[in-house]
């Protein structure tokens, strides 16, 4: 699998980012750096298919697909995992109920044991993820749930926007583990200004 961006750009009246080009293969981690307002979050949303590019393209090619093939991210949302500060899950549901809901809307059989295991892997105690509404958890705990949401369906392309935000050292080690596991599964793109997040990357694109 490979992710290819060619002259990718987005404008909202004025330029948000780009044009930017890169190409990244399975097992690799791409870092997106840049000052505040340089368009890192917009680039990740474009790669997630949540925003249409104004120019250029981003395409995902699976094994055996040639240059003329490829999929726009918005056409294969089930292949994408996204974790970002402006991502919100349902605050009136527990973390466990949230993940089961998202498994069901994806048409996957929701395995309670698998969901519990994943939430335990991101360091949440059962009392937090199965008893408390998500809205009652701390910001750091909610960030852990977002990481679980992003990896729940074992995506081919994992997009992490400021993944270490609001996390303590234990939480940051979970980000490292998530990124390490994704290397066996597909591609990771991390947008951040934090050197600890960018240290997890193999290649880097800097937006200006």
């Amino acid at each position: 699998m490979r992710l290819v961006a060619e002259n990718l750009s987005r404008s909202f009246g004025r330029r948000a980012f780009g044009p930017v080009s890169f190409r990244i293969e399975t097992g690799r981690v791409l870092g997106v750096a840049g000052e505040n307002g340089s368009g890192k979050t917009t680039l990740l949303k474009t790669l997630a298919g949540l925003i249409r590019p104004s120019g250029g393209y981003a395409k995902i090619f699976f094994d055996g697909e040639e240059a003329g093939d490829g999929h726009e991210p918005r056409d294969i949302p089930w292949s994408i995992g996204w974790c970002a500060p402006d991502l919100s899950l349902y605050g009136e549901l527990t973390a466990e109920e949230n993940l089961i809901f998202f498994e069901r809307v994806r048409g996957r059989a929701a395995q309670l044991s698998g969901v519990k295991a994943l939430l335990a892997e991101v360091g949440l105690p059962e009392s937090s993820y199965s008893k408390k509404a998500l809205g009652a958890l701390s910001t750091g705990q909610r960030q852990r749930v977002k990481l679980a949401f992003a990896t729940l369906h074992e995506p081919d392309l994992l997009l992490l926007d400021e993944p270490g935000a609001n996390l303590d050292e234990a939480g940051r080690s979970i980000v490292q583990k998530v990124v390490s596991e994704q290397r066996f599964r597909g591609i990771t793109v991390i947008a951040s200004n934090d050197p600890r997040d960018l240290a997890l990357t193999d290649e880097r694109v800097t937006l200006s």
Binding site: G64, I76, I80, L87, S88, L89, G91, L93, R104
Partner: protein, 233 residues
């Protein structure tokens, strides 16, 4: 790396969205409270000011039919816009966009709104009949037009809510878009209710039922055809 997996099925997604909507509503009761409180407040006001005795017998079917549908219409306007507006305001829409097929989202939310409006109707109509002394001579026609009427109200309100959810002046825009869309079936509902109240003849209201079936079909089909563009752009 494997080839892309197929898209999730519409029905499982719709069922999941429907269950989540009702579970969230059960826990927060935001839409339920506004729907029931508005409907009950208007009903009490109408019953107190107009009542069953202040109308002449010949005016009673028409005025009661209009008042009943005003209560149901404004209840729908009050509570049903929330379905998509809350997704955008709370920031949960992006997660849903990445996870669920768009028709499944619309279908699930539409079912949830039909159930909510159906519950309000089941609560309000018996009270209205009692408080206003509203005599129905053709109950089957009345029940069918209530079912078709609230389905049409819910369908148009749900899609309009999706249209306005990203706008800044959501409330005003919702009213501006929904009122012209909902007026034609409302006129049909009022006229058919008057027929059900004055004639013990089911066939007298069949044309109105046909009109409502056609309206519900057109609005729901248009909603499904347009929703993908509305939801993802």
């Amino acid at each position: 790396m494997s080839a892309p997996r197929p898209a999730a099925g519409i029905l499982p997604a719709a069922i999941a969205v429907f269950r989540r909507e009702l579970l969230a509503e059960w826990r927060t009761r935001v839409a339920v409270n506004s729907l029931f409180l508005f409907a009950f407040a208007v009903l009490v006001l109408v019953a107190y000011v107009v009542g069953p005795t202040r109308l002449s017998p010949e005016d009673r079917p028409t005025v009661n039919a209009v008042l009943l549908w005003i209560v149901l219409f404004f209840s729908a306007m009050t509570g049903l816009s929330r379905t998509f507006v809350h997704e955008e305001d709370a920031g949960t829409a992006a997660a849903l966009r990445l996870s669920a097929p768009p028709p499944g989202v619309l279908l699930g939310k539409l079912f949830a709104n039909v159930v909510l409006l159906g519950a309000v109707t089941a609560f309000i109509v018996p009270l209205f009949v009692v408080f206003m002394g509203f005599e129905i001579k053709e109950p089957l026609l009345f029940v069918l037009l209530l079912l078709l009427g609230i389905s049409g109200l819910a369908s148009a309100s749900t899609f309009t809510a999706a249209l306005v959810s990203k706008a800044s002046a959501k409330g005003a825009l919702f009213a501006v878009l929904a009122i012209p869309l909902l007026l034609p079936p409302l006129v049909g509902c009022v006229l058919a209710t008057r027929v059900a109240a004055t004639q013990a003849d089911f066939s007298a209201g069949v044309d109105f039922l046909r009109l409502l079936v056609a309206y519900d079909g057109v609005v729901t089909t248009a909603a499904f055809l347009l929703f993908d563009a509305v939801w993802r752009e």
